[in-house]
């Protein structure tokens, strides 16, 4: 018999009671990073009222699903739309459905005026800046000349103003040997959290396909990060990503299922919805289709939700309840988002 629960899917389709949006307010960027998952910077951008409408759609869905929301605002470089972004932050600050948001930025446009504005953002949890190396040589090769200095300046400015700062590094063969040095540098700067994302050769990043780490290289790096995590309190190393659980299967605070199809969506500057920014398959437009229609009807999401669909070693893995691999890496490398994670060493 059917039972109309407040949110039966909370426990059945997705974990507990959270929902995460990655919201790209622009694709414009003042950097031309070699590994960028964008291939264009010309996507249509929405007006302030349209952005407000999206927020209302999100709030309605969260209320219906009885879930608490969080957002990562990003781009492109999100501070290129500083006025619109600050307006949006003010709206989220007043929203009853959202607990916090992060801003993911390259840090280059952070100045004193912006820092003062951000101090008023009451639900800002942390500002995440991207850094690809511990020296200008390693970093600037990927992110462009002068970017290391700008990023370090941004980190210092944010820390001086009391913000929680996170650093994320996209790892490939061009920088993975530098991880320990990056962590030493971040420790000196008082950075709060550190995470790595595996390079997904999408968009401009396709040109770096040869720089993808092999499975054994990923294993060595994740083992190192797990070891450093035990020693390092600051920065706190975040390891809630697929494959980490292979390093320490019994550690419940290590590794996580990919959130695609479970409790996350990506909103693009024109309202297009992706399962994940690194899995750039359009599954609808939030303004035209609404969230319910996309979340309940997308075949891509339903394919991914059903673990029986996973292929190769992901489909036979004894850690399937903890991992399932990264669907975006599988898609970028093989063209099949249900293929096994090509960087898994299990």
């Amino acid at each position: 018999m059917p039972s109309k629960g407040k949110a039966p899917v909370d426990r059945e389709v997705g974990p507990e009671n959270e929902f995460y949006f990655q919201w790209h307010v622009t694709e414009r960027c003042n950097r031309r990073c070699l590994h960028c998952y964008q291939s264009t910077q010309r996507t249509k951008e929405l007006s302030t009222p349209e952005l407000g409408k999206i927020l209302t759609i999100m709030e309605t869905a969260l209320a219906k699903w009885n879930r608490r929301g969080s957002i990562s605002f990003t781009g492109g470089e999100p501070f290129i739309r500083r006025t619109e972004l600050i307006d949006l932050l003010e709206k989220v600050d007043k929203s009853a459905q959202f607990d916090f948001y992060d801003i993911l930025t390259n840090g280059s446009l952070i100045d004193n005026e912006l820092l003062i504005l951000l101090k008023k953002a009451s639900k800002l949890r942390r500002v995440q800046v991207s850094l690809e190396g511990s020296t200008p040589t390693t970093n600037d090769r990927l992110r462009g000349h002068g970017s290391f200095a700008e990023t370090m300046k941004a980190i210092k400015g944010l820390k001086q103003c009391g913000f929680t700062v996170s650093v994320m590094t996209t790892v490939s063969r061009l920088n993975y040997r530098d991880i320990s040095n990056i962590l030493d540098l971040l420790k000196q700067e008082g950075v709060d959290t550190f995470s790595v994302e595996r390079l997904v050769p999408e968009g401009k990043g396709k040109q770096l396909k040869d720089q993808l780490l092999t499975a054994s290289e990923v294993r060595d790096m994740f083992e190192l990060l797990y070891k450093l995590k035990q020693k390092s309190k600051t920065p706190r190393i975040l390891t809630y990503r697929p494959l980490y659980c292979l390093v320490a299967p019994d550690d419940m605070h290590n590794g996580a299922l990919c959130s695609v199809g479970n409790n996350a969506l990506t909103i693009m500057p024109d309202g297009t919805v992706y399962p994940c920014r690194r899995l750039p398959i359009p599954i609808g437009n939030i303004l035209e289709d609404g969230l319910f229609s996309i979340w309940y009807q997308s075949e891509v999401l339903w394919d991914i939700r059903n673990p029986a669909n996973l292929k190769g070693k992901c489909g036979q893995c004894n850690l399937m309840t903890h991992c399932r691999g990264c669907r975006a890496v599988a898609y970028a490398v093989t063209g099949d988002y249900l293929a096994e994670d090509p960087q898994c060493w299990n």
Binding site: K4, F292, Q297, P307
Partner: protein, 113 residues
């Protein structure tokens, strides 16, 4: 109890979509407009699959009795209860009701213009 005649045609409500992952025992009906979600058991889901696209009540009843080994009286009573619950929850509707609802909404739309 709503009246269910043998020739009553049942259909899925227009905003309802069905999804299942049988290996996980997940059976759901979703309303893509309101966002309502309904967790179902396998039998209810099977009944909704039969109704999807439209089916006469008598045909549905025969299918139920053929598939599930239950006495006719018991099967008939259980199906009636289930159908009534699904109608109350706006997951399915009687075609006659659907026509009335569509006429009402058309009239409302005309008046609004």
């Amino acid at each position: 109890m709503l009246e269910l005649r043998p020739d009553t045609i049942l259909t899925l409500a227009p905003q309802i979509v069905l999804h299942s992952i049988p290996d996980q025992e997940w059976y759901f009906a979703f309303n893509i407009t309101t966002g309502d979600q309904f967790r179902l058991n396998r039998t209810s889901y099977w009944v909704l699959e039969q109704i999807n696209g439209g089916v006469e009540y008598s045909t549905l009843m025969r299918s139920v009795l053929n598939i599930f080994e239950v006495p006719e009286n018991q099967g008939s009573q259980d199906l009636k209860q289930l159908i009534n619950k699904l109608i109350r929850q706006k997951i399915i509707r009687r075609q006659a009701d659907a026509k009335k609802e569509d006429t009402v909404s058309k009239t409302r739309r005309r008046k609004a213009k």
